[in-house]
């Protein structure tokens, strides 16, 4: 607030009489004209739906005169939320996504970190080839990635299954135990390169002089990587983790595609699939409550993780 005010006075002072005549900075109308093209759709398509979902999640459908009477909605307090928390399908979707996230996010980010460190080290040749190869999946939409992988999982078509059979293994990528990890693999394939590039960009912005002293002391590349580089890019690692947590909670397209070839994925497999299934059954109030819960859990987890890690790192 004071910052804005002091800057405003500075601008007024700097630009002298003409500016004072205009009343400091561009006229309010001009500023509004710059902001409105973004803020109008932002309010309409971001803020209003959020408000609407929250409002709806506190409504219930009632009927006048028995089961076949006309329906109307009315205030229902926390009824929808109570329903959500009593829904076993909700809890199993949360449990599934939790297991998925606890395994997939660290594995993916670990691989991304190793790749970024190797690309930043003097050990590699063909750097741009590796960078492009890893980043290429980012150009592929989740649906198409899942379609591609579903061919590689399919017992009839997959060359991977064929090779594994030749060495005496009988994998079933779509079985009840495996299908969650087959889904996790699609996410890992899609996002490792993207995360790698964020971490790599952070590594590239570290000034080289920082390593020179360590090198003179005889530190190995390995020691430089883990003792110097990783701690410096910790904020980027935290950022990628938060983005990955958000992504995991939103999982929809990949399991929805794999569901087309595997009976081991139910229509309520992830929280988002559950919300969609509930909405398809015309229970919009319940679906709104599920959406709100997903959004709140996302916020709490990402902020919680940020707080926890920044405090521990003493930042």
């Amino acid at each position: 607030m004071t910052d804005t005010a002091s800057r405003a006075t500075r601008v007024v002072a700097a630009s002298g009489r003409r500016r004072r005549h205009l009343g400091g900075g561009p006229r309010a109308g001009t500023i509004v004209a710059f902001l409105t093209p973004f803020f109008l759709p932002f309010v309409l398509f971001y803020l209003v739906p959020i408000g609407y979902a929250i409002w709806q999640s506190f409504r219930v459908v009632r009927r006048t005169g028995g089961q076949y009477g006309t329906s109307y909605t009315t205030f229902g307090g926390f009824h929808q939320y109570v329903q959500v928390f009593h829904n076993t399908e909700f809890w199993s979707s949360i449990e599934r996504i939790g297991l998925f996230g606890v395994v997939q996010v660290p594995v993916m980010l670990f691989v991304a970190l190793i790749m970024a460190l190797l690309l930043d080290s003097p050990l590699l040749r063909l750097r741009s080839f590796f960078r492009i190869a890893a980043f290429m999946p980012y150009a592929v939409p989740g649906v198409i990635a899942a379609i591609m992988w579903s061919f590689l999982y399919s017992p009839q078509l997959s060359p991977v299954v064929e090779v594994l059979k030749d060495v005496g293994l009988t994998p079933n990528f779509l079985g009840p135990g495996a299908v969650l990890w087959s889904t996790a693999n699609v996410s890992t394939w899609l996002w490792t390169g993207y995360n790698m590039l964020i971490l790599f960009s952070a590594l590239q912005s570290i000034p080289q002089e920082l390593y020179e002293a360590a090198r003179l002391d005889g530190a190995s590349n390995w020691a430089i990587a883990w003792r110097i580089k990783v701690p410096i890019i910790a904020p980027s690692i935290i950022l990628t983790t938060v983005f990955s947590i958000i992504g995991t909670l939103q999982l929809y397209a990949e399991p929805a595609v794999l569901r087309q070839i595997s009976s081991n994925i139910s229509s309520t497999y992830t929280p988002n699939m559950l919300a969609y299934a509930v909405a398809s059954g015309n229970n919009y109030q319940q679906a709104a409550a599920i959406s709100v819960v997903i959004a709140v859990v996302t916020f709490v987890l990402s902020f919680g993780f940020m707080r926890l890690t920044t405090r521990r790192a003493g930042l």
Binding site: F39, S201, A256
Partner: protein, 285 residues
Amino acid sequence: MSNPSTARESRVGRTAAMSLMFLLAIYFLLPIYFLIVAATKPQSDLASTFGLAFSHFDLFHNLHTLFSRDGGIYGRWAVNSVIYAVLGAAVGTFISALCGYALAKFPFRGREFLFSVILGGVLVPTTALALPLFLLFSKTGIVNTYFAVFLPSIVSPFGVYLARIFTAAAVPDELLESARLDGAGEFRTFFSVALRLMSPSLVTIFLFQFVAIWNNFFLPMVMLQKESLFPITLGLYEWNGQTARAPLLQESVITGSLVSILPVIVVFILLQRFWRTGLASGALK
């Protein structure tokens, strides 16, 4: 440096690093390679020949089948994807640039508050918005039209965030002041001075938004019932769901997937440097 044990260590390290990276590169490229091979095969060879080896070259026949299936609906989907993703990202980048520029260069009351609202928007899961948007849109009759997907897609809080940092870094105040002293209005100044200086970063913002729209599957799925309005992703998803009943569709799903991702991959590789600037500033947050 001349120490022989260090030299051996670094040779071992080099080999290990290269092997690991090659394995990972194979992992990332394998599905795309498989798709290329499969798109060149006749449907009958898909199950009967080894998936990673070329057999009878039937790509052109597959392309013909793809583009003539269901009265050429695939071409329609491709056009729709371009409308949603290219046009949507272009409009989105423009409004993000206007807003980010104003937030960076105009001092006004409540500026930081507006900016933190936008930053909060970055964290909102867009899938959580799709269902309430559907209900709101169905009241206004926008559901099942181009606008149902297009309008929400142009909003990118992340784009505004990037536009603000990029403007602050690339557009010097002195230049704006001198344009103003020359009598240029704020919009003139923006279009003739600022926009030109911001243009490399606008490419970055465009790319990020393009990918976000191009990847967004949930929104079109919720909004659209009419097949003629589908983007490619939703169309292929529908086809893929029918392959159990119509196995001949499989080849078109494969060829259609390849046709849809190849141009994007090529553009990505050509515009690589713009990704790095964007990802670096995202990471510096």
